[in-house]
């Protein structure tokens, strides 16, 4: 919230400016305003409003005025086992998607950084999941997983691995199946970011290490990884946040089913707010999500940065 106080302070400072260098600043103010107003009205404002709502009993379509109820929503939330179950699923999903996403993207980025034929094709294909609407990604994988017309079961049948199953409807298979889709959909951004990081690693160092007889793994550990670390940390942290907050993919694939096995926190909060109209309660969920994710990320980043000093 420091950003908001900062903006307010400069609001007061700017209009008084006059003459010389100050005129430049006034010009800058004029350049900034068209973007600043929408940001304040439609992003910063709603965010603060949302946090306030978490402390009220706001509901949709109610005539009685909204009451300030303090921490009551949070107390209810504490005992809401359904929400915490959804939260647990959200964490499994976020970690289950982010980690393979990173490893697979790293592998692909290392390959694309080599002088291989067909590299252009891989680059072109890697873009498809990025450009696609999430809804279409969901639809597409429904077709892959479809028990009768799907390609997955047909391939399993061809390989003699049984008759296959209804992946998205099975209690034990739904979450893993959805996680695979998440990995697939998020790989391109991660690959592109890592590839960019790779292209910044010093070539000479690589060659020198190779001369000294260092094997591929050692070269990776001592030369590539130290250069790649900052990019890898940043993209992993971002991926984790994005994955934890994702909505459309799972909404289209399973809408949270079967039996809530894939009900991510975003889906839970969406239903709470727009199906049951519990605005205040859903806002409290949002706050809890932000808080827990921030703490987890802080722990992750501090741990990683410390680890960097040792090696």
């Amino acid at each position: 919230m420091t950003s908001l106080t900062a903006t307010k302070r400069s609001t007061r400072g700017a209009p008084r400016a006059e003459g010389g260098r100050r005129a430049v600043d006034r010009g800058a103010w004029f350049l900034v305003l068209p973007a600043l107003i929408p940001i304040l009205v439609l992003s910063v404002g709603p965010l603060l409003y949302g946090i306030l709502l978490a402390f009220t009993d706001a509901q949709s379509g109610r005539t009685r005025s909204t009451q300030w109820i303090g921490g009551l929503n949070f107390q209810d939330l504490l005992h809401d086992t359904l929400f915490w179950e959804s939260f647990r699923i959200g964490l499994v999903w976020a970690v289950g998607v982010t980690v393979p996403q990173f490893l697979l993207a790293l592998g692909l980025a290392l390959l694309l950084n080599q002088d291989l034929r067909l590299r252009w094709l891989a680059r072109a294909l890697a873009i498809i999941p990025w450009a696609m609407p999430e809804v279409v990604v969901g639809v597409m994988w429904r077709l892959v997983y479809n028990p009768d017309a799907g390609v997955l079961n047909e391939t399993l049948r061809d390989l003699g691995l049984g008759d296959g199953r209804d992946w998205l409807a099975g209690l034990s298979t739904a979450l893993p199946a959805v996680i695979v889709v998440g990995v697939w959909a998020g790989m391109p951004q991660t690959t592109v970011a890592l590839l960019a990081g790779l292209q910044n690693t010093p070539r000479e160092l690589h060659e020198a290490a190779a001369m000294d007889g260092a094997g591929a793994w050692r070269r990776f550990r001592t030369v590539t990884w130290p250069a790649l670390r900052p990019v890898a940390l940043a993209i992993t942290a971002l991926n984790f946040i994005w994955n934890f907050n994702s909505f459309a993919l799972v909404y289209v694939l399973t809408s949270g089913g079967p039996g809530g096995r894939t009900r991510l926190p975003m889906l839970f909060a969406y239903e709470e707010a727009f199906r049951y109209g519990q605005f205040g309660y859903a806002a409290a969920m949002g706050c809890v999500m932000v808080a827990v994710i921030s703490v987890l990320l802080a722990v992750f980043l501090v741990g990683r940065l410390k680890g960097g000093d040792e090696t």
């Binding site: 498809i128 609407p133 077709l143 994005w242 969406y270």
Partner: protein, 277 residues
């Protein structure tokens, strides 16, 4: 760098595995889009449709108002892209060139805005837009999309502005060009390709967006393509696969074409934004 032959073979095998993993779902979508209902009902589906047909496409247009939805999507995406670039470019310029408190606050907002779950934003946004009578209207959606596309647009544009040498602007100023003139005749032309790429990216983001459209648009006449696509899937999760695949395929084409055009610029833009001056 030298790599042994076995290493090379391993690398190609791995690359091939990636190609298959990335491509097969999309190929399957295309395959299903061209299959007849009878073939879809038969056991042992094949990759190549036995007798390809366009029936699914025809049926998709009959079942759902796809053209109107595409029109809505187009309006929302075009509006969002134009407005976003129009207001983001000046701010990005200031963020790249000045180290004021405001510029830093804007950078902070770009980062923080990524971390907040949409639920926390959508409920108040819903209430605010309701008060402004902008619920269930494309203009309201455009406004939301503009703000939603801004962080990434700013990120990219700041990178592009930094790539324009400040010395060029100073040289123009020495030659007696005013501030506005310098911006219009020196900086703007150099920025133009970056601005176009940013606008196209904002277009794709808005064209693909689902969550806001789902919450903010109530009547079918206003709904955008991604929302209408979900109508193909019935309440019980049962879907008419052929038309669904056909419609999904068509909805993807604009994004794919635009993305192919700007792919290089997007990747370099992501990088440029990350480089600290």
């Amino acid at each position: 760098m030298r790599t042994s032959t076995t290493g090379r073979v391993g690398q190609y095998a791995a690359l091939l595995a990636y190609l298959v993993f990335l491509a097969f779902p999309f190929l399957w979508l295309i395959s299903i889009a061209f299959k007849s209902p009878r073939e879809l009902g038969s056991l042992h589906p094949t990759w190549i449709p036995r007798d390809p047909t366009l029936d699914n496409f025809r049926q998709a247009f009959d079942e759902q108002p796809l053209l109107r939805a595409a029109g809505n999507s187009l309006l929302a995406a075009l509006g969002a892209a134009l407005i976003a670039v129009l207001i983001a470019t000046p701010l990005a310029y200031v963020m790249a060139r000045r180290r004021t408190l405001l510029a830093r606050a804007a950078t902070g907002w770009v980062v923080v805005s990524q971390a907040f779950p949409l639920v926390l934003v959508i409920i108040p946004l819903f209430l605010v837009l309701k008060n402004l009578r902008l619920i269930n209207s494309l203009s309201g959606l455009v406004l939301v999309y503009v703000v939603w596309a801004l962080p990434f647009a700013l990120w990219m544009l700041v990178g592009y502005v930094r790539a324009v040498p400040e010395e060029l602007e100073e040289a123009a100023a020495v030659d007696g060009a005013g501030r506005l003139r310098t911006l219009v005749s020196v900086t703007a032309p150099l920025l133009a390709p970056g601005i176009v790429a940013t606008a196209l990216f904002a277009f794709i983001t808005a064209w693909n967006e689902f969550f806001f459209a789902l919450v903010l648009l109530k009547t079918p006449e206003k709904q955008t393509l991604p929302v209408v696509l979900t109508h193909f899937i019935g309440a019980e999760g049962v879907a008419d696969l052929g038309p669904l695949a056909a419609a999904a395929f068509l909805a993807t084409l604009p994004s794919l074409v635009v993305f192919a055009l700007i792919q290089r610029r997007i990747t370099s833009g992501m990088l440029a934004g990350a480089v600290k001056s």
